[in-house]
Symmetry: C2
Subunit: 332 residues, 2 copies
């Protein structure tokens, strides 16, 4: 492997000049610049990143800690982060916390060891509860999940408002006993539940909520009990794509047709929500945009460590489909 001094020798300059040219510093004669670049090219010189990182004390690396990589929401966010990061000459270290606070802590610790330039994190509820930005030696931008109280850069959906609009939609379609099944491990689920509660209260309706671990199976089991119990909901709402999937499975098992026998709506416009007849009404999240906004916020923060804390809130879009059409016997 060619080293910087080999390049310097070949170009007939000092290592400092080579370094300067490669760093894009000004104050180098065009002539030397050319000679250096030529030598670099000829020798296929590649700076040793370990050495550079040791010397410069920066890694140009972003840590991405997602709650659950299997959730298509996070997949798409990761894709956006990855795209933008490499465009900005940054590496991405991927970590999947599997909704496990201990793993989150472990990975955050690892990020410290790695001396990353910054971290993107979608914290679980326990982590978020104790989260203080000043506990970390690197900038952190939260994505998807954050509290009103959290003092940190963040990019989130308008969760409460979106859930409110979705609930109102169901109410307007004539549903009354609407049950809300939501993920207990995230701030997002809770905020969406708040929106649901507010909407129900506005119309003087009783609420019916159920917190579950954010998995398909947990949602399926909870929904099964709900529809077969004595509470007789006339519509089901799920707080995210995985939970919504569990609800559909439960309704299939119970042989309940939607919207004829029970209404259905949820979050995340996943491909299958259009394919399951007659289509499922959802709030679509601008997932790629969320990821993009997050990495942009992080890059800005890295560039300007002391700029004021920002929160970017993106709007969810209601996509009405067959699963929530007006009940024949509805009376408003």
């Amino acid at each position: 492997m060619a080293q910087i001094k080999d390049v310097a020798k070949r170009a007939g300059v000092s290592v400092a000049s080579v370094s300067r040219v490669l760093a894009g510093h000004t104050g180098v004669t065009e002539a030397t610049r050319q000679r250096v670049l030529e030598a670099v090219q000829a020798m296929d010189y590649r700076p040793d990143l370990a050495a550079r990182r040791l010397r410069s004390r920066r890694t140009d690396t972003v840590g991405l800690i997602v709650s659950d990589i299997r959730n298509p929401f996070f997949t798409e966010v990761s894709r956006a982060v990855e795209d933008m990061a490499y465009q900005n000459r940054m590496r991405v270290i991927l970590c999947n916390a599997d909704e496990n606070p201990e793993k989150e802590a472990l990975y955050l610790d690892l990020m410290r060891d790695e001396n990353v330039s910054g971290v993107i994190l979608s914290p679980s509820l326990p982590t978020l509860a104790h989260f203080r930005i000043q506990d970390y030696p690197f900038p952190v931008v939260l994505v998807d999940r954050c509290d009103r109280e959290t003092t940190a850069d963040a990019v989130v959906l308008d969760n409460t408002d979106s859930a409110y609009r979705l609930t109102i939609h169901l109410i307007e379609q004539g549903y009354r006993r609407i049950a809300f099944i939501y993920g207990a491990t995230s701030a997002t689920g809770r905020q969406r539940q708040e929106g649901y509660v507010t909407a129900m209260a506005t119309h003087g309706l009783e609420t019916l909520t159920q917190a579950v671990p954010a998995t398909v199976d947990a949602a399926r089991i909870a929904a099964s009990e709900l529809v077969q119990g004595s509470l007789f909901p006339d519509a089901l709402m799920g707080s995210n794509g995985l939970i919504l999937l569990g609800l559909v499975e439960a309704l299939r098992e119970a042989r309940l047709q939607f919207p004829e026998q029970i209404g259905l709506a949820g979050f995340d416009d996943l491909p299958w929500t259009r394919l399951v007849e007659p289509g499922i009404t959802v709030i679509a999240q601008p997932t790629y945009d969320i990821g993009q906004a997050t990495i942009e916020l992080l890059l800005q923060r890295i560039a300007h460590p002391s700029q004021s804390v920002r929160r970017v809130v993106l709007r969810g879009e209601l996509r009405e489909r067959g699963s929530s059409v007006r009940r024949k016997d509805a009376t408003l």
Copy 2:
């Protein structure tokens, strides 16, 4: 930040001893070992990875270059890789090539710059065609995609055989004019197409194949033309989950019911294939196992650079569902 010399000072030993203890070397008195560990603990000392990497010339980092992170197959593979890698004290650098050979080349180059310990790659067809393991200064294990000719460690599905079995299943169910729509950018698609062709030939049936870019939209458009054209297929097969999704969309648009009006089957047992009535017949891939086997192979290769090349072939599992049930008018 505490450094190794601070720890040494506090423990009353030399930096060499600290280094030895931390590296788990033998030949250190239990007494000094204890004093060092105590000091490390007390000072919350963390070795500087950049320095360690420069000095040791190894990064303990794995590069993961997937074709398309949105494909749930690769999501699950990534999850397994990530799990196992961190369990083995390795970092994972994530790269999403988006089925783009240029991006693949770019990322492979980047892996070289990063001096990674090894790379996991799911190559596009062009990359695979020119792929020679000796062109890279690090071990590479291929995942999901590889040719018969490729001389490299690899973990793949029994693509040809699985496709053969799936096709035979359709034939046995009475389908005759079976069309196969497959991803043109991967060896996988082509191998599955071979299995289809073999199965059709076995029964003296005419083949009907269509290569498309491996995206939902491309598959949808191709399928639309196919079912509305003059070739009148009586069944459709898709070579992976994204393509299968496109096929379903096309059938919906054309208002063709499966299995009544047309049979349907494909690859990848995604959640929605059970939910789309009456369920879609698929070959299920052991995705997590594939990922796990891949990283294990890579770790072995890193440990034993000169061990013989290995190929791990995992078996796909046929899951029969309603979309391929026997046609009423079938005559074998």
